[in-house]
Symmetry: D2
Subunit: 356 residues, 4 copies
Amino acid sequence: MSFSYGERFRVTLFGQSHAPSVGVVIDGLPAGIPFDMDAALAFMARRAPGGALATARQEADVPEILSGLVNGHTCGAPIAAVIRNTDARSGDYAGFLDTPRPSHADYAAFLKHGAFHDVRGGGYFSARLTAPLCFAGAIAIQALAARGIALGAHLYSVAQVQDTPFDPVTVSSIDFARVRAHALPVNDETILPAIQQVIEDARATQDSVGGIVECAATNLPGGLGDPPFDGVENRLCRVLFAIPALRGVEFGAGFAAAAMRGSAHNDPFLYENGVVKTHTNHHGGALGGLTSGMPLLFRAAFKPTPSIGMEQDTVNLATGENVRLSIMGRHDPCVALRAVPCVEAAAAVALLDMML
Amino acid sequence: MSFSYGERFRVTLFGQSHAPSVGVVIDGLPAGIPFDMDAALAFMARRAPGGALATARQEADVPEILSGLVNGHTCGAPIAAVIRNTDARSGDYAGFLDTPRPSHADYAAFLKHGAFHDVRGGGYFSARLTAPLCFAGAIAIQALAARGIALGAHLYSVAQVQDTPFDPVTVSSIDFARVRAHALPVNDETILPAIQQVIEDARATQDSVGGIVECAATNLPGGLGDPPFDGVENRLCRVLFAIPALRGVEFGAGFAAAAMRGSAHNDPFLYENGVVKTHTNHHGGALGGLTSGMPLLFRAAFKPTPSIGMEQDTVNLATGENVRLSIMGRHDPCVALRAVPCVEAAAAVALLDMML
Amino acid sequence: MSFSYGERFRVTLFGQSHAPSVGVVIDGLPAGIPFDMDAALAFMARRAPGGALATARQEADVPEILSGLVNGHTCGAPIAAVIRNTDARSGDYAGFLDTPRPSHADYAAFLKHGAFHDVRGGGYFSARLTAPLCFAGAIAIQALAARGIALGAHLYSVAQVQDTPFDPVTVSSIDFARVRAHALPVNDETILPAIQQVIEDARATQDSVGGIVECAATNLPGGLGDPPFDGVENRLCRVLFAIPALRGVEFGAGFAAAAMRGSAHNDPFLYENGVVKTHTNHHGGALGGLTSGMPLLFRAAFKPTPSIGMEQDTVNLATGENVRLSIMGRHDPCVALRAVPCVEAAAAVALLDMML
Amino acid sequence: MSFSYGERFRVTLFGQSHAPSVGVVIDGLPAGIPFDMDAALAFMARRAPGGALATARQEADVPEILSGLVNGHTCGAPIAAVIRNTDARSGDYAGFLDTPRPSHADYAAFLKHGAFHDVRGGGYFSARLTAPLCFAGAIAIQALAARGIALGAHLYSVAQVQDTPFDPVTVSSIDFARVRAHALPVNDETILPAIQQVIEDARATQDSVGGIVECAATNLPGGLGDPPFDGVENRLCRVLFAIPALRGVEFGAGFAAAAMRGSAHNDPFLYENGVVKTHTNHHGGALGGLTSGMPLLFRAAFKPTPSIGMEQDTVNLATGENVRLSIMGRHDPCVALRAVPCVEAAAAVALLDMML
């Protein structure tokens, strides 16, 4: 069941980087839900390749709807959508089955699938599969918005450059809109030059950089989640780790909480205009695996793009020799950048599945 | 399906802190697997309450086997085991339904379940449910050991006190045995006094401290995992977040990877005695959602115990007033301490499910 | 996942005929649902052994509640219940691993589990596991009744003796009550002597007889079901075939429909007091995998009890010889008789899972 | 999860009769399995419309492969395939949302989905979705054949015309090949004229007829299946009931078993050339939810096509009046005919899922 997620809002991905298509089947939406294709395309454009700081691969990424939508509304049947792979250049990847790229899936995929693994463009391990994930996310985001729920993410950090975090208590759709209005998805516009610089420096030296994406969702009802195994955190992690290059997820104060005392970390309750709130939000909107009604807040750490132009050590599985490898191809110097909408999409998919 | 995990090794938990029992049903083991009850009890004793640094609650935690084992071997039927709750003192918890404890599940559970939530001892949100999880883990650990796989965890940090991390490349069962021989599960015995001190200080001030647990598994075959949604990381997270107080999980270099360049973070492959290895192990044994054959390595961050003796702010849901609360009861000043075997158990359950 | 059923009302069975216990974990009921233990015991008594026409095995079959119920109400945690096996006589079964009983699961279980299969009393293939299924069914029946839904089954036939079928259009809880008031669960009291006679005759000749159980559910809302793979019929079959000795299931006109013309089989719609009904109910309340609002009606065919006293041919797997076998033990001459409440329980479990 | 089936061989269907496409995503096949597209097309042609006795709808039904196959072999990624709907005439169906066709899904779908249900051509309830099911079945059949397993089905009966049943003990791929060589899938060629006549008569009178499909699978290993809830019968039923118009399934002697005595129904074991067999096969190759090693044998009863030209009673949901309805359109007078390969496909999907 590796390509399917969800119990009520069920997302099934398919495709490889250099197959005819990537795509998605989305099952579980009730009939009669309006779907705004323009909004979906605008959302998907945020992860699409292109731009000075991303890969040069150019693809329109316009999903073709095969089923499930009639006159702009769901009809109760699964929504199937395909996105054609139109700019795949398989020649770039010849040989990676024999000489696996360091810190890529190539070698592990060879162990799992043998010589029949489709290594071109990384096969199904490619970030290309985040395109249909984002389409599913776009649908989920619209369904969540209809329930008053907003979510947004930003580049919490790139390499050592830190963005201003969301305020865990007051974060709102105003913040999300501001982030989206910037040239890159940052919370504090003044750090844009520094982020652009650190990414440019990496690219110029045929290197790459990692980054952290912070995401918040607001106006969620309290009590959502099915602990112990399907609590909010379990479910979010299960979808988030479908995004390539993710190495860690933390909620609320996260790893910093481990260095705190209870008296400092605990979030006391209080009535505010008749509504139960917490003074602080170290818990990140999730207590005991359930939403608390406070903003849901988590961070996702992405490793630096493993595809770098610099020469590296690797092995030749055919000859059994240690060899040197230079990866040409077209690569994002910072996957965290394009991961921002992917994190939003993954969160939306997990949250909607909990709400239906 | 919140109380069940797994596709092939399927674990279903049940119970509340103050119900007659907690327990577990384990489905999916083939017939004929020997089961060593003494080893299981020794493993479970590592999480059992008691000891100077833990809660004063005293329970034998000896599981009674109801089915699935005949003459010390599995028979193909599910293994059901119950652990009686013999030292529950419900009086300690009266009132938490009305005055939810800060950073506990009480309030979120009230939103989900209403007044019928069993708040006594935290109900099913209690760490008491890690007892049957550890029993399932003990079974999984034995089944993994039969396949040559070892795993172990230690206290990577408590508050600001840092233990020596496992070496990501050379970590082995020798390290795991050393950790288990210490009075507390630390890698470097010399930090024991510092850890004991910081926990004692927290207890003495009616406060608590957080901590990080690091876990490794060795000798795993490469190519295990079913990305995108059931990769190694997705599956581990789904089980790990069943452990109360967990706030984050990271694999390999984890959040630190986000501050690195690709040239530093990438783990070059090399042949070592004819076997493919990596020089370094920033990837933590998982690439593209699959095991790589290198040691699997992750860290889990636990918040400080939310139950503290110091007076705190909260609300009275019955009267609609802001009130003050002192939590008496019997509590661990550092949940990370007893979480060490729970992390091992969770990892074992997830790994065995992938291997069957 | 073989011992678990359901997405929202999730039933996990465990136990073997001669293990310490059989039992069940029931996950998914919201908190605050009242539970009537006396009604559950009365329901379970209908399948309990004993009586002139059933096995002589005597067990009280009183489930002990381990979790999930507080003060007679659900609390949102799984309900776990165990039923002790108090009258198991393992000596009766020695040897069936080597000399499998014809038309029993012994041989197939040996192929699956090998010599470690718990053959005593049939192990987990025993009808004994219908005791916890009936407990789950009792809970489901109460939850359905709270939604106005009633269900009931009767002995449609035993050997060649035919009971009067339920009227597919007018069947109601009045019929169900009448059936339950009889000494055996028949619709037409006048056939009781004939049924008793045919069962007695089988017993007297150390033989057994098969039978068909007909079941109806009334007042179901229309539109329930999730075709194509989780429609009403798919789901009912998946639970029903957990009852031993079941060989077929048909809905509405069932196999007879295959001999009909569309003009005779189609059920025309009409308004009756402003409500859409059908003149006839050949469709058995299910159209396209969805409930139609008419009574749900199906029949389940049970083979004759395979355990018969007459000497039979079989093999000795240890010696590789053809041998003769006489089965002593204590057996029901007609499993269909005790299957009546099991069919009701299975149907209730499937229907409630669709409704939650 | 209604459009997905399977744990290891996972089939996700999508599409509606008049959507741009129907299609399927197939997840779980290991890499390196050869795929014979010509054989798949030949299999699919057996259910395709056309021919004197079927609907006049004409569609090539050639699946386009979107992913998962590279150079004629699986690569470990899901296989996605779409089949375009090229001959849909929506005008034929206008109005069925208001005036539901008797014994069709229209009314129940309206109750579930409301006015947004895609009623054109029956929407996702259409037998059109058996085209992608048959493509999945074609893949499964090839994978089963590689394991030495053959399966085949025939028209056991149409209306009152009976075909010669498969011999439950000796049925083999020779029988399957003979059936496929006939103009219609019958076991006994001499009944062809009678079957053609009864279908022609139905068509000529604007009526329809039902029929029974019998299916066998040979050379299955014993011990397959995961009772109680995922035994052979449970799993087969869950897939089979995805085929429209199915009203009942029986295994081995089936409903007839209910009228038998145990001494007649039991299948004694014997050694035959060192292999354990049964003299007879009333159990249809399944004991206790597990395969026994004898041929698997079951029958599936299909109702007469509900779409008939004769005028019928129905309701107008818009006006609240009882009305008369004549269905024009293009319809099969006997759905059982085209259901034969669908039953094979469903069985292959269920069996392969059990074997992987």
